[in-house]
Subunit: 268 residues, 2 copies
DNA sequence: AAGTGGTCTAGACCACTAG
DNA sequence: TAGTGGTCTAGACCACTTC
């Protein structure tokens, strides 16, 4: 008979590595998830099984899972199991979209129902990366990237021009057709077709006069004050995945800072 | 002998209220903190004492404290105790200041050392609230507010014009002198002098041409694209405390979105 | 040495989901 | 009914701070 590895692929935590036990358990869990052994939307083994496989108590294992749930890597569903997070879940739709119609600040715990924008692709090309793209994606200047331009509309009005750059080496299988015929968000495409999960992002905002190109795409006058958001999306290990510049017409819309949404707070 | 209440003021959790036990414990803790029984910077009784007083196990009590720590209401210090958070702690200095010199996105876990701005007051007056101030602070239009204008400088360059509005009824004891002679941030002043702790804030950003007033204060040309951040700062119970409009010259600086800073994520 | 928060355990019981 | 995650307990031991 051939040797058969444990079907779950989980290693017992023996050599007392650095840090507390629950953090080692967390790393081991993350290792298995990154390995692709459990894909997006799949259920992990039950907590008791994992705890036994790792040789830790269930309380310790739960603390490890808590951290991964908190970082949106896992999702718990009571009575069903613990699942690898996927981007087409409703709960992640707005994790990276922060433009809303202008309005008053919400009162009390009021939750504004958000609209997801209509996306129209206005440019798709394989080009050589410019300075900013290369620096953000940590590739060499001139290395090929896919550069995708989209117009985002809310309530029928063009509000955002997105220019997306992703490494052509990393997304070599990408085609315009694959992109246009996707269902769901582009982050869902990254995850489903390329196995790349966007976990978090850096965002920096500034004001700038609209360029001719953006003015044309959004139908505004050239030189209008526009809000420019530069985003670097990261996957496991803080590896850069996507560099995106969103140019927003804030005549009737706002960019809503994330700390606004719920009683969350930095861990410091 | 006179009856003497328990010195800590904590009530046992008897009537099984709504939700799980640790959440009731959390509410009871928050109640005592809001009551002012323990002021900013003061230590709470030890976890074992609190747990006994409430009649819950230490694990349950710790879960309650975990939540309050996560929302920056409490701070744990191993070996010393659990303390009510105060705003002049170094860890809260940048919780509400998000302007940085333009630069590349940080690589890996790199931590940028931030500079705290020099603040110069350029206006202090008691005026009748305008539409936006009244709506944000949930007072009647025309109700008096303190309106404070500051110029914030980084590296010797004027970068931000802050216009702050706070209810004059809520901060009736405020004087220009008290404001000017404060040590620390204005949030520290709210907390120390008025017992009002800012816990979190809503922020919305947009681009706008600079007004004449802001142009003068910051020394830029009128009509330049400026980044405008509207912030509503809240205390316990999501009660509004301060409405602030920050107008930022983003020629050489960025507004850094909070989700950038660490692997934190919304709780959903 | 004494007191604090931090970690870890082993097990009981509850709430939810599915067949 | 069986399996999952969610809560709660009681206690042991560790790491850090202060005296």
């Amino acid at each position: 008979m051939r040797y058969r590895p444990a079907p779950h692929g989980l290693q017992p935590i023996a050599a007392s590595g650095p840090g507390p036990l629950f953090r080692q358990a967390r790393r081991e869990l993350q290792r298995v998830i990154e390995s692709g052994r459990y894909g997006p939307g799949e259920a992990l083994p039950s907590e008791t099984v994992i705890a036994q496989a790792m040789g830790v108590s269930i309380g310790t294992l739960r603390k490890a899972v808590d951290e991964l749930v908190h970082e949106n890597i896992l999702v718990r569903r009571q009575g069903k199991g613990t699942f690898v997070a996927q981007h087409n879940d409703a709960r992640f739709l707005f994790q990276f979209f922060h433009v809303e119609p202008r309005g008053e600040f919400p009162t009390q715990g009021e939750i504004r129902e958000q609209e997801y924008p209509q996306v129209d692709c206005v440019g798709f090309a394989r080009v050589r990366s410019d300075e900013a793209e290369a620096a953000a994606l940590r590739i060499n200047r001139g290395d090929p990237v896919w550069r995708i331009d989209n117009r985002l509309s809310l309530g029928g009005r063009a509000v955002v021009h997105d220019r997306i750059a992703i490494s052509a080496a990393l997304f070599s299988r990408l085609t315009e057709r694959l992109y246009l015929e996707r269902t769901g968000t582009i982050y869902s495409l990254y995850q489903t077709e390329f196995g790349i999960t966007v976990l978090r992002a850096h965002e920096r905002a500034r004001a700038n006069a609209s360029t001719r190109e953006t003015a044309r795409i959004l139908g505004v006058a050239e030189g209008m004050p526009m809000l420019e958001v530069h985003r670097l999306a990261l996957t496991f290990g803080d590896k850069p995945v996507e560099y995106r510049v969103s140019t927003i017409n804030t005549a009737a819309h706002d960019y809503v800072s994330l700390l606004a949404k719920r009683g969350q707070v930095m861990s410091g």
